[in-house]
């Protein structure tokens, strides 16, 4: 029987039996060929270094240019689920230029539980293969660094040897108010040659708990994957269950959800620009952005009863009813906030001392970003137009005109610029959503049942990037498998790459410019 990979839609369920199972060799070839790096002409060459300044309302010409999509695909997720005969490995690939997702699985031999690693040819499989090995003991033969992702004891770090090489260890408890992780720098003099990031300190076992939990508890677990991405993960979780139940959501509910998602993005991006200002010691922007971030959280509070939007979403729609009334004053309030964000951004981006620190700090090349499979603003700062809202739109985003915001250079400045461009875009999206006469929504009844033997993939572009929930039901229509990929899972390697050649003192600034989730990675 010659099966071929199945084409999927974001959020649409398929029958479990229709998932094609390929021969292991063919499965590998399919992945490698689909994700093959594009011909060099596809990659937009980085402009030669030119003095760049960044007025807040426009990008300088050398930071513009057509985004590169490439012809090929990229790896969205790679995972294994057990079945009666052992393990099946699943690969989910996205071909953004064609707006499609492809999936196929392969059965693993039970003895030895191993296969030839994809990572040597496809670095974006690197983290996924380490996870396969850690969770299920599946051995990708030939993997260059097969180290557990979430286990913290008794594991050697990558070391550079030689005269005058020194090692600096930081964490898990840090000096600021941030999540725990361990960073190991290999330095020669001031120069960082390699940074290894060891996470796992936040591991709570979310995936296995979701399968076993009651529906109400599942939602709270989904909202607690990453506390700054409550709406992003909450929506991804809701949509995967809606897909499995074959249930449509009213356009009114979808609008309120999109409004909340964009408010979440605004709060985090504005907060991040403030944090970047803090890290270069530019206090006016740090203080103003810090306060303005709270304005968005307070709007979310009015929407949901919680500053982070907890309790707003429920699979099927919304947890609480809305009239137009709460939104009537929002247009004016948002206009005031918009003006203040704009003038603070102007302050930040026109300060030469800030620009000197941002520019050329922690650059990641387009090629590296593509090879590592970066997503979200971190990828878009490297001139890769990857945005689920554009390429795999869902819900109300199918109807909203949308272009991904990109920058070039892949440095701290580019990551700050992408955030600023997205802040302006989100203000526009929010304004469009608020103009709609269809914003009022009713409270929805929670889902009562799921379809048996169904499989669904749900992707949401949360503020940090592509947020993926994948689920399957068994013959009795109970939730059987659950897989979560937080955007941070792809992006931590990007931070590692950014730091090569920098100084340790650049680490906080780079870390803030990525602002990845430890909890989302550790699950």
């Amino acid at each position: 029987m010659s099966a071929s990979p199945l084409t999927l839609q974001n959020g649409a369920a398929v029958s479990w039996d229709s998932l094609p199972c390929l021969e292991l060799d063919r499965w590998r070839t399919w992945i490698l060929e689909t994700c093959a790096p594009p011909a060099s002409s596809d990659i937009a060459p980085d402009a030669a270094p030119v003095k760049r300044t960044a007025a807040p309302d426009t990008l300088p010409p050398n930071r513009r240019g057509a985004p590169s999509l490439g012809r090929g695909g990229r790896m969205v997720a790679l995972w294994a689920w057990p079945d009666s005969e052992g393990f099946r490995m699943y690969a989910l690939l996205a071909i953004d230029s064609r707006q499609t997702l492809q999936i196929a699985c392969a059965r693993l031999p039970s003895q030895p539980r191993a296969y030839p690693s994809l990572t040597p040819q496809l670095p974006e499989a690197h983290y996924f293969e380490r996870e396969l090995h850690e969770l299920h003991g599946i051995r990708p033969e030939g993997h260059p660094w097969l180290k557990p992702l979430r286990q913290i004891e008794g594991i050697p770090f990558f070391q550079i040897e030689g005269e005058s090489i020194h090692e600096v260890a930081v964490g898990p408890v840090h000096a600021g108010v941030i999540e725990p992780g361990h960073f190991r720098f290999q330095c020669h003099g001031e120069r960082v040659h390699h940074l290894e990031i060891q996470l796992g300190y936040q591991h709570r076992g979310v995936e296995s708990q979701i399968v076993a939990a009651s529906p109400g508890r599942q939602m709270i677990l989904a909202e607690s994957i990453a506390g700054d991405t409550v709406i992003g993960h909450g929506w991804a979780y809701s949509r995967v269950l809606e897909g499995l139940a074959g249930r449509d959501v009213s356009p009114q509910s979808e609008r309120v959800r999109a409004l909340a998602l964009e408010l979440e993005r605004l709060a985090n991006h504005v907060g991040d620009l403030g944090a970047l200002a803090t890290d270069v010691g530019y206090l006016p922007a740090s203080a103003y952005f810090g306060r303005l971030r709270g304005e968005f959280l307070n709007l979310l509070l009015e929407l949901s009863g919680n500053r982070y939007g907890r309790g707003l979403l429920v699979p099927g729609g919304l947890n609480r009813p809305f009239g137009m009334a709460p939104f009537e004053s929002w247009q004016n309030r948002l206009a005031v906030i918009h003006r203040q964000v704009e003038s603070t951004a102007d302050l930040l981006f026109s300060s030469s001392s800030v620009m000197t620190r941002f520019e050329y700090c922690g650059p990641v090349s387009s090629e590296a970003a593509r090879a590592l499979g970066l997503v979200g603003p971190a990828a878009r700062a490297c001139h890769l137009a990857r945005d689920v809202r554009a390429h795999h739109p869902w819900g109300i985003y199918r109807a909203l005109p949308f272009t991904p915001q990109i920058s070039r250079g892949g440095d701290v400045l580019a990551r700050a610029q992408v955030r600023w461009l997205e802040i302006q875009q989100s203000f526009n999206l929010v304004a469009q959503l608020l103009e709609s006469p269809e914003l009022a929504a009713v409270r929805t009844d929670p889902l009562k049942w799921l379809q048996p033997s169904a499989f669904c993939v749900s992707m949401v572009e949360s503020w940090r990037g592509e947020t993926i929930h994948i689920a399957a039901t068994d013959e009795q229509a109970n939730l059987r498998h659950f897989k979560i990929v937080d955007p941070s899972f792809h992006n931590w390697m990007g931070l590692t790459m950014a730091l090569r050649g920098c100084q340790i003192s650049d680490f906080p600034l780079n870390n803030k410019s990525f602002n990845l989730s430890y909890a989302g990675h550790d699950l």
């Binding site: 979430r150 286990q151 913290i152 898990p172 408890v173 000096a175 600021g176 108010v177 941030i178 999540e179 725990p180 796992g200 300190y201 936040q202 591991h203 709570r204 076992g205 708990q209 939990a213 009651s214 109400g216 508890r217 939602m219 709270i220 677990l221 607690s224 994957i225 990453a226 506390g227 700054d228 409550v230 006016p284 203080a287 103003y288 810090g290 306060r291 971030r293 709270g294 307070n298 509070l301 009015e302 929407l303 949901s304 009863g305 919680n306 500053r307 982070y308 907890r310 309790g311 203040q340 003038s343 603070t344 102007d346 302050l347 026109s350 989730s517 430890y518 909890a519 550790d522």
Partner: protein, 249 residues
């Protein structure tokens, strides 16, 4: 320079009075009030809706150490026996004081005299995130911004536990953070305070029962102040600490 001044004037003075003059919006789900007299016999509609087993009936009781403030019980109750108010003051010195049985608020008792002399006017804390989703950490971070500005009360986050008077801990304490939390605690000079923030830190929250977490801070190190919420509003944290320091009556 001109731009800087113009911005400064435009931004204005943003630090909020504490206690705030304006109440929180009515949508905010804060301290719940319970009316056990309204309960119907053998009704347990609220219990089946609670995601974290925080509720008991006969008599009605809601444990704020476990509550994630989702409001599902309030919606499920046909008798309106549970009502989430917009009162942000909820912290407690003892975990059993977090069990709400009626509509009377519980307020935190202040520290004893010698500790007040040491910490009352200046409290330096080291934050430890131990398996949290980052929600509570963000609210602790927000307390340092110009709106809540807890440094005006002498409260500050310091970089090292050696410089700290105590710890402020979030998360259910993942097994992977247990040792780091213990070591950080031991590095704080005695006498020291431990403040647990959020449902996870109080009881394990939604992660209670998972083999990969310790089920809260108290099983690992002794706790002096419990601040409920998911995550608690910055005002809830500030209110709890200021009452502990006898700065609020």
């Amino acid at each position: 320079m001109w731009k800087l001044l113009k911005n400064r004037i435009e931004q204005g003075y943003r630090t909020q009075d504490f206690p705030p003059v304006q109440p929180l919006p009515k949508e905010y789900r804060g301290r719940p009030k319970l009316y056990p007299g309204r309960c119907l016999p053998s009704c347990d509609q609220c219990i089946s809706k609670c995601p974290t087993e925080a509720l008991k009936t006969a008599p009605l009781e809601l444990d704020l150490a476990k509550c994630v403030f989702c409001g599902a019980c309030e919606e499920a109750c046909p008798q309106h026996a549970i009502e989430f108010t917009s009162d942000y003051s909820m912290a407690a010195r003892r975990i059993e004081d977090l069990r709400v049985i009626d509509d009377t608020p519980h307020r935190v008792d202040a520290l004893r005299k010698e500790l007040l002399r040491l910490f009352g006017r200046s409290l330096k804390l080291r934050e430890v995130s131990a398996g949290s989703c980052n929600g509570c950490d963000l609210e602790i971070q927000a307390l340092g911004n110009i709106v809540f500005d807890w440094s005006r009360f002498g409260i500050q986050i310091v970089a090292s536990p050696r410089h700290a008077d105590g710890l402020i801990v979030t998360g259910p304490v993942s097994r992977n953070m247990e040792l780091a939390l213990r070591k950080t605690y031991e590095a704080v000079p005695d006498p020291r305070l431990v403040i647990a923030v959020g449902a996870c830190a109080l009881s394990g929250g939604v992660f209670a029962g998972s083999p990969t977490v310790c089920g809260g801070v108290a099983p690992v190190i002794p706790v002096d102040l419990y601040i409920p919420g998911c995550p608690p509003h910055p005002l809830t944290i500030l209110d709890g600490i200021l009452r502990l320091l006898n700065r609020l009556k």
